[in-house]
């Protein structure tokens, strides 16, 4: 029975997806939710060691290396799978209600299939299985994101083009190694690759580069950082949490799986180091830090709520990449920890934004405002999520950010740390902006009658809030599994218990942190109660220099500061070409199309063809005669 559990995780959801295509709307989404829930339950119940690896050879002989469906539940895969399936279960519960008659995006069958291939990415034990799942997941994402119209499709296409570029490179890398060791198995090829790196073989670097291209594009690290802003923003609203919370982590999973063995298990001195760090990691560190900075700045300047969150995802992937590249136990653990946290808080944020859009139909932030009064639970979820996202104690995000900084301090990567602090401060800016523009300020008259989300939709939100607080209180909840992952890679554990984490230059008791904040809050609440009587006044009763707003036709919509919120910063950055990479890509695309049209129109002309055939033949013959 357990033998077939792994393939069932991969194959059953797509089959169910096919089935779901013939079901009525509600049942489709119910099936999706139940599948996600079942996956999560199964994975939480098992331990990595208990699962037999699954292997079924595909009779494609005569290709050289054996092909087949090889699956294994390594601790790393288990960690990623548990985190992502728990998050996915919440997202799909939200989707179940979200996709009512009016909002049905019809993606449930594809979403189901995606769940299976997603699990396949984590479970794959050979590169071909990995590639197949990876590529099919990309295609499904393209369809899900792009099946709507106009913008959405170009967004999906951006995503797919980059993804295809990366995944084909991955395939090439896998082959490169397989040509030498005759195996597509991931562990075999990593052993070989590690050996190459250790022995200083030149081929190691292009192979590593080919692998990394796939992961870097998927993880949206610089200079591939622009696709989430399109794809995550244009995806169906209830799918964006999955896209941003789970799907983008495949890239980090790949980086983790390939880079950790290669750089932790090569002897000292085999790879040139910069600042005590192998040079590829050092470069990755800077690339990630740059990603964090650029993502943050773009998020500050955007006015579209989903786009803002997408850029925030990019920035967070930057943190994760920087942590991973610190080349230490602490950094690796911090990367995994932050990744898990990001799943929750970004999932929560996208979910709340989806809920708001569900109720109001708005996405542009300046068209909303004051919704905290109408959707208090959604507001609280968003608030806790941004506290976590900005890395503010006592929510979960602080714990992982603290570890990231500890890792950087340990290696004295102070300039990267500065970049991350910069990004982190910026994160506070754009997150507050989102909070303010959506939930605070004046309530638009159009949204007078907006109601809170229904119970089933609120359920995942409550789950997110609990998770954020629980992890903020006891980071050990995540750090214990992280330690298992580290152990499986032969690394030391992070020194921690449920609530205390020991870093390189300091240690923190998160329970105390939680407690003292609670105490301070209680004290201040006492002051608050002791103070004079307070009266609630209407929102438009404001200081207006003595003017009566009604006199000059002021409406709540106009009495809201939300558009071009950080104009001064924009002015400061007006000289810095933040959109340069995007423009460059667009320019390359235009040049390609121009070349294409030259080929299509020019080279295909009769004159050109005739002359080319005559000239070619003449030259060849002449050449032949001469020789």
């Amino acid at each position: 029975m357990t033998k077939y559990l792994l393939p069932a995780l991969v194959i059953l959801p797509p089959v169910l997806g096919l089935l779901a295509a013939f079901l009525p709307r509600l049942l489709r989404w119910l099936l999706l939710f139940l599948t996600a829930l079942a996956t999560a339950t199964v994975l939480v119940a098992v331990r990595p060691g208990e699962m037999m690896p699954f292997s079924a050879a595909l009779p494609v002989d005569a290709l050289g290396p054996a092909l087949g469906l090889h699956l294994a539940l390594t601790p790393t895969a288990w960690f990623f799978l548990v985190m992502s399936s728990l998050a996915t279960a919440s997202f799909t519960l939200f989707s179940l209600v979200f996709n009512d008659e009016r909002h049905d995006s019809g993606i449930a069958p594809l979403y189901l299939a995606l769940l299976g291939f997603g699990s396949g990415v984590f479970l794959a034990a050979d590169w071909i299985t990995f590639f197949v799942c990876w590529e099919l997941a990309s295609v499904l994402t393209l369809i899900i994101v792009g099946h709507r119209r106009g913008h959405a499709f170009s967004a999906g296409l951006w995503y797919f083009a980059l993804s295809a570029l990366g995944s084909l490179s991955l395939l090439a890398g896998a082959w490169w190694i397989a040509l030498h060791n005759g195996s597509f198995r991931i562990d075999d090829s990593l052993v070989t690759l590690t050996g190459w790196v250790a022995s200083g073989r030149a081929a190691a670097w292009p192979v590593l580069g080919l692998f990394s291209l796939a992961f870097l594009t998927k993880a949206a690290l610089f200079p591939f950082h622009m696709w989430p802003a399109f794809a995550h923003a244009e995806a169906p609203d209830d799918f964006s949490p999955f896209l941003s919370g789970v799907l983008i982590k495949y890239g980090i999973y790949g980086l983790f799986v390939v880079w950790v063995p290669v750089f932790f298990h090569t002897p000292e001195g085999a790879v040139r180091t910069i600042s005590g760090i192998p040079w590829p990691l050092y470069i990755l560190g800077w690339v990630s830090a740059l990603t964090a900075v650029v993502g943050t700045l773009m998020a500050i300047f955007t006015n579209d709520a989903k786009r803002l969150l997408a850029w925030s995802t990019v920035a967070n992937l930057g943190y994760i990449g920087t942590a991973l590249s610190a080349h230490s136990v602490l950094g690796t653990a911090a990367a995994l920890f932050h990744l898990a946290n990001h799943m929750v808080f970004k999932g929560a944020m996208f979910t709340t934004v989806a809920a708001v859009k569900w109720r109001t139909g708005e996405r542009e932030m300046h068209r909303m405002g004051g919704l905290a009064l109408r959707m208090p639970l959604t507001f609280m979820t968003f608030l806790l999520a941004i506290i976590a996202a900005a890395g503010i104690p006592p929510m979960s995000g602080f714990a992982s950010k603290w570890m990231i900084f500890q890792a950087l301090f340990e290696k004295q990567l102070v300039f990267q740390a500065t970049a991350l602090f910069f990004a982190s401060t910026g994160a506070f800016l754009y997150l507050y902006r989102a909070l303010h523009s959506i939930f605070l300020g004046q309530l638009s008259t159009r949204h007078e009658h907006v109601r809170e989300v229904p119970f089933l939709m609120a359920l995942p939100m409550v789950a997110f809030m609990l998770a954020l607080m629980a992890v903020g209180f006891a980071p050990g909840l995540i750090l214990k599994p992280v330690n298992w992952v580290l152990a499986s890679h032969g690394l030391d554990a992070v020194r921690s218990n449920w609530t205390i984490v020991v870093g390189a230059t300091a240690h923190i008791d998160f329970a105390t942190l939680f407690g003292v904040f609670g105490f301070a809050a209680a004290l201040v609440f006492l002051f608050f109660v002791l103070g004079g009587r307070r009266t609630k006044v209407p929102m438009m009763d404001n200081y207006t220099s003595g003017e009566d707003p009604a006199d000059w036709g002021l409406t709540p919509e106009r009495y809201q500061y939300a558009y071009a919120f950080y104009q001064p910063i924009r002015v400061l950055f007006s000289r810095i070409p933040l959109g340069a990479t995007e423009a460059l890509f667009a320019r390359v695309a235009r040049a390609l199309v121009r070349t294409g049209s030259l080929v299509a129109d020019g080279f295909a002309s009769a004159a050109f063809s005739t002359w080319s055939i005559l000239l070619g033949a003449a030259l060849l013959i002449l050449f032949g005669v001469l020789s």
Partner: protein, 218 residues
């Protein structure tokens, strides 16, 4: 309990706790100055190094929400009255009003101008009026000192009067603010008619009247 305090302001005895609070209130008066008239020119010297209002804990504030003290620094027209009332109502209790110069008292030299309000006390309670055209900073500071004494003594309770007799104040305000509405017909100027003003005063609650008499005596 609040209401009990309000009943008879003459006979009110303040609790010890209230008098402690009043100490803080008098020692930290934050002003909102409504610089409509010439009195505004007296404030900078009062605030800056020469007379240094800050030594009494007084200072300017940006919005009525934060302020304790509303300064009406000169004449008021009908239109500015509307703003004054809104600002006054946005201030939080306890709050005090000080009228500068003759204009808030009786219109001063503008007493017969059509847009000018002659009796500020008809519309909002005034806790202290400073005679003069204009009063010099010495007089201004003197008035503040007196106001502080009254606060400590629990006598500067215009805000309570306003709350208690709100309907009377509102009626007066409405009567005059009606003139800010656009009209096509020329109207009788009610405030040039001393009889109307007097009739408004005749309807005044006793304790408001009494305040007026006290003022006149002074």
């Amino acid at each position: 309990m609040e209401d009990a305090v309000l009943f008879n302001l003459r006979d009110e005895r303040q609790s010890a706790w209230e008098s402690v609070l009043n100490y803080f209130r008098k020692r930290s008066m934050w002003m909102l100055y409504y610089c409509t008239g010439c009195g505004a020119i007296e404030l900078p010297p009062s605030m800056t190094s020469r007379y240094d209002m800050e030594r009494f804990g007084m200072g300017p504030m940006a919005t009525p929400r934060q302020a304790d003290l509303l300064l009406i620094t000169g004449y008021l027209s009908v239109k500015t009255l509307k703003r004054v009332i809104r600002s006054y109502e946005q201030m939080q209790e306890p709050k005090y009003v000080v009228g500068f110069g003759s204009c808030p008292i009786n219109g001063g030299i503008y007493w017969d101008a059509y847009p000018v309000i002659n009796h500020l006390e008809l519309f909002i309670p005034v806790d202290m009026s400073i005679a003069g055209c204009m009063p010099r900073p010495q007089a201004v500071l003197d008035a503040f000192q007196k106001l502080m004494d009254e606060i400590q003594a629990g006598k500067a309770v215009g805000y309570k009067r306003y709350r208690k007799h709100l309907d009377w104040y509102k009626r007066n305000q409405d009567a005059v603010l009606a003139r800010t509405e656009a009209v096509l017909e020329p109207w009788e100027d009610p405030f040039s008619d001393a009889a109307l003003v007097e009739s408004l005063w005749n309807d005044a609650p006793a304790e408001v009247k009494e305040m007026r008499e006290v003022r006149h005596d002074a």
